[in-house]
Symmetry: C2
Subunit: 355 residues, 2 copies
């Protein structure tokens, strides 16, 4: 076989898709620095929220399977298309698996060709936290210093890092029904310089907190917070209520809070507000970020971010990572797309590969 024949058989550059592995994603985060990564990621998320009408939006496609859910979350603007695959299996930890794993793809709209494949388990944890803290910038009471964190699982520390990077919160009150989860979070966060108080109950945790983050993983209606536990003027960052039949807050809290959501069509199916009437008023975050709707109006107001995670946030994360890894060794090339010399000659390429 001569060199010319070999070069005809080798995949062309069009056949390759840059792939960011878990190891490379972690290396990338450390290379940038985790707080700067979260801040820059939040800036990308904010930028995309501000151009909300440019996106092709659809509620995610959820396949509810025994034990969990598998979701595809696509969105696109006029140049790029992105989607994320993500599962949610609350009982996975019993067998040593992650509750949530994810990967994502970014493609060029003009050709439909993928231009990035990346792990998104780590990236989703970062983008979820960056989104929460970004929303916190708009809704948390001025001068907030203390955050209660109820649920100290895989998302907990990422939330803490993002709230410090974006909102300056350094004091945390941790509670989980499983004390070993709280110890794990305490250990990880003390190293990062946080001032930690471990608490004996959710009631205990919210004491003196201006921001309350709820982030539990049970796939069922649960009541992590009841109305008597929440005062006035706080901001609730509700992460865990994110699929049908799974909520964390008592309905009475929702009835007196001003509720902010990513995409009402999806949040009404999956968020805390699935407990409310379909026409219960909510404010869309993109309008707040564009200055077209009010965020926090006064110190007495109870605000609630009913977070479920939306496809544009993943799109922002994919866009950010693509910009970071292009032409670096943080991505490796995968031979994922067939690319015959003559695009119509796929069969000929297959035949020639036998030689």
């Amino acid at each position: 076989m001569n060199a010319e024949t070999l070069s005809q058989l080798a995949p062309s550059h069009l056949a390759y898709v840059p792939f960011v592995s878990v190891a490379n994603m972690m290396r990338l985060v450390h290379h940038i620095g985790i707080e700067r990564f979260l801040t820059d990621l939040a800036a990308h998320i904010e930028e995309d929220f501000k151009r909300w009408p440019e996106f092709d939006k659809t509620p995610r496609v959820a396949s509810h399977v025994p034990g969990g859910v598998i979701e595809l979350m696509p969105t696109a603007d006029d140049r790029l298309y992105g989607f994320k695959y993500v599962n949610g299996h609350p009982k996975n930890t019993r067998t040593g698996h992650q509750t949530v794993t994810a990967f994502g793809v970014l493609s060029e709209v003009s050709t439909g060709y993928p231009v990035l494949l990346t792990e998104m388990t780590v990236l989703t944890a970062l983008r979820t936290a960056a989104t929460s803290a970004l929303v916190g910038k708009y809704l948390a009471p001025k001068g907030a210093e203390v955050m209660a964190m109820i649920g100290n699982g895989a998302q907990c520390e990422f939330q803490a890092m993002a709230f410090r990077a974006l909102c300056g919160i350094n004091r945390l009150r941790l509670y989980d029904i499983d004390p070993s989860a709280t110890l794990k979070a305490k250990r990880n966060l003390e190293v990062q310089g946080f001032e930690i108080t471990t608490c004996s109950s959710a009631q205990d945790a919210v004491e003196g907190a201006q921001v309350i983050t709820t982030c539990t993983a049970d796939k069922q209606y649960a009541t992590i917070l009841t109305d008597n536990m929440v005062g006035r003027g706080q901001h609730i960052n509700a992460i865990g209520g994110d699929c049908p039949g799974k909520t964390e807050l008592h309905r009475d809290i929702l009835l007196r809070a001003d509720i902010f959501v990513e995409y009402p069509e999806q949040t009404r199916i999956e968020g805390e507000i699935q407990q409310l009437a379909d026409d219960h008023p909510v404010t869309e975050l993109w309008q707040v970020m564009r200055g077209e709707a009010e965020g926090r109006r006064n110190e007495a107001q109870l605000t609630l971010f009913d977070s479920v995670g939306f496809a544009t946030e993943d799109f922002s994360a994919l866009r950010y990572v693509r910009n970071l890894v292009q032409n670096t060794d943080f991505a490796e090339n995968l031979d994922m797309l067939a690319d015959p010399d003559d695009p119509r000659d796929l069969f000929g390429m297959l035949q020639r590969s036998a030689g």
Copy 2:
């Protein structure tokens, strides 16, 4: 760093997803033999059609973008979940890109973890052809020997190989508006031992053919076949009409044919029958394969397979490939899933990776 620390940092087996590249897919096809691959693949597709009610089915999620479409096609049974990413950009060939590229993922329902990532550009060409020929087994007139092929692009030769492997058809009449496409197909198929006639028009091509395959790629309403060109007793295998606004057959043909479809909810949106009333009677293929509906009844009947491609066919293909590549070197392991020792300690894993 000692060996124990290193082994803690290396991804566990749970972090890896087997990946089949384009090069390995082609190697696999040759290893099995293309006709046997098509026959075995068709057997998997038939097996899954026969257990149709077991699948969670939904029309694909299509993002119509300027110049084409990007689709996600998910389906699941109670053990496995699969989806395919596929684009369709008819003008791509002008810039040396494929009209269609695809990749797919198979996951375990019980954990949501992906267990296979594979190229599907080559695999989709094979499964589309295997499905057509499988349907041909049920609907083509007895003793069919000649197939007209109108549209000689990337799918053409795969269709020919499958119809020979499954239906014994060895004589082909080729026509394409672009003569160079016909020459390309002729060259590739003569090597495979087919008896080829190149034709000067679609009218010419259908002369004496018992099976007519239409497979053109324009994203618009086109009339490749008019009613006067089609006689009685033929089987039409209509591949190209597969998205809204894209059809190949004149409506009058549809009105006198018995029409067979994969999944009516999707075909009414995307197939030839988008030209007909929403309640125009069609027969579902899974019912024919289970013996619950009639296929071809007599020699005079005009049958039409209005192919659009359905998610279960990709599921069958993913299932087949997974069985073939498990524990072989046709798949390489990708570090795609984060897998901390303690599933709740994703942040700890990230922190430790900095060391």
